[in-house]
Amino acid sequence: MGGLFGTLGIATNALMADQGALEVTSNNIANANTPGYTRERPDLAEQTPIHLGPLLYGQGVVLQDIQSIRDPVLELRIQQETQTQGQIGAFLGGMNQVQSLFNETQGVGLQGVLSQFFNSFQALSTNPTSVPLRQGVLSAAQNLVNAFHQDSSSLTQVKNGLNQTLAQDASQVNELTSQIAQVDGQISSLQGQGQNPGALVDQRTQLVNQLSNLIGLSVTNNVSGTYTLTTENGSLLVVGNQNFNLQTQLDGASGTEHIYSQGNDITSSITKGALGGLIQARDQAIPAVQNSLDSLAAGLIGTFNTQHAAGFDLAGNAGGNFFTPFAGTAGAAAQISLAITDPSKIAASADGTPGSNGNALALAAIQSQPIVSGQDVTDYYSNLVNSVGNQISFANNQQQAETALVQQLQNQRASVSGVSIDEEAANLIRYQQAYQASAQVVSVVNQLIQTTINMA
């Protein structure tokens, strides 16, 4: 016990502790609407009391620590679900572009030109010697060829666009990992000095969430308070204050950007985050659509050429190929072309007489024959369009569920780490009154000291 000056010391410490607590409270209130802010709590502790004879004298209060109130489990779940959200969003972005190529309701796609093509043969069958009708067949065929080219080229453009986005996202990953490593260094330094790195931890959490939106992550907390971030397959992204950049490189054979980490191609191992969604759309969904389109074109070329060769042209010669023959299926939609340009070469006749329409009818009937995977042209194409639509519809539903889940997790986080203005207002009054009381103690001690001085 230090007499009046001891009491003055206790009151001064209390003033400082209450002032600190008021600062924490006002900082919480100021950040009530700051995204990602974690509320802080002042930890007031009793000073170690001293024994004086048989008595134990208290030594007042000290602001021992400022704690950030966070739930690591919720933070982890938000990171995990943000990865899935990013993946679905990027996948949908790519597939919506694909769907717009086959939007039959807006007259875009192959359905119309396929019908016109087969109808042109039906029309020719009514007057097989008519040159205008023959010219009409060639025009419709050319339109069909152009539509196949257009769809194939548009799919390649969508893939190229996704390639560009992938490279941009990889670059953004590098930017974020660099920032995280920098913040990690500062956190480690502050913790080494025994200071509270709460604001920096918030900043890092925000950065990691942004990174989670881009790429699948695994986060490990180190003893030093820093993070180790790895990709899904364990490739290092950040270790403490050091970051490891991803590189992108164009694969000449496939024309796709690949992602490398420290010399290893990790493209196929990335399944989450926007990069995962882009890769899924680019390497799985779009190639599947492209293959279906190629199969349709190849089936049409093969079946049509066989039937055309069975007929006779206007001059009575045996029919040749209608489309340029194509071996295999890969690239058929991009390379389909007409083998004939002369309308008289269309083999409409079944018996060699110019008036015969037998082969024109047979060619028109191909529309309802199973030519690809046991399906006719219309059914096969409808299934292709439906498949794209179903994938988008499924992903849309998933996105809605995922958005709700992330929102729920953020609400849970807010209930733990968010600032409650009511609670903070109450704290403000509490600390203000404590401060006023301590100031009153200082004033009383001052009067007592003055009295003591006057006694002298």
């Binding site: 489990v73 982890l76 779940r77 995990q80 679900e81 539903n397 569920a401 889940l405 729920q408 609400n411």
Partner: protein, 159 residues
């Protein structure tokens, strides 16, 4: 043919119930997202009541069809009897077709929203699983509390 008016009324009621059901599913999900359990339970009760109402209406519609036109599918009901209908009944028959279309759209939307909700709950369950793992991990660290009498000084001394 007053049955067509009865059928139209039943279908209108069914459509209203289906639309309300969609709204309740979405609102229930919002309550779950907002961690408002009381509201969530309220919406669950509403959903149960609406599902029961749709089932009741389905049974009434089926019974009416059996009585009026055995073997005729609901979608064919209006067109099947168009020729024998009075002018006002013809309008009701046309309305019936529109109601059937709207009902189908409402049924699909309710189904879609329910799938989204189911997916959300399935994903949400992962959070519970993670928390359970954390709890079980902690249970491995802290020993289970001993019974109260285990703390009695006499017991302590006996060891």
């Amino acid at each position: 043919m007053t049955e067509i008016f009865k059928l139209t009324a039943l279908l209108s009621e069914r459509l209203r119930a289906l639309r309300l059901l969609s709204r309740e599913i979405a609102a229930g999900q919002d309550a779950c997202v907002g961690l408002n359990h009381e509201k969530l339970l309220g919406h669950d009760r509403q959903k149960q009541a609406l599902c029961a109402e749709v089932s009741r209406l389905d049974a009434e519609i089926a019974a009416l069809l059996r009585e009026t036109a055995p073997g005729v599918a609901l979608r064919d009901f209006g067109s099947r009897f168009t020729a024998s209908l009075a002018p006002e009944e013809s309008a009701a028959a046309a309305n019936l077709d529109r109601l059937l279309e709207d009902s189908e759209a409402a049924r699909l939307e309710a189904g879609r929203l329910n799938r989204v909700y189911e997916d959300f709950l399935r994903r949400s369950r992962n959070t519970v699983s993670v928390l359970m793992n954390v709890v079980s991990h902690c249970a491995g660290i802290y020993t289970a509390p001993r019974p109260a009498n285990a703390y009695a000084p006499s017991t302590e001394r006996s060891y």
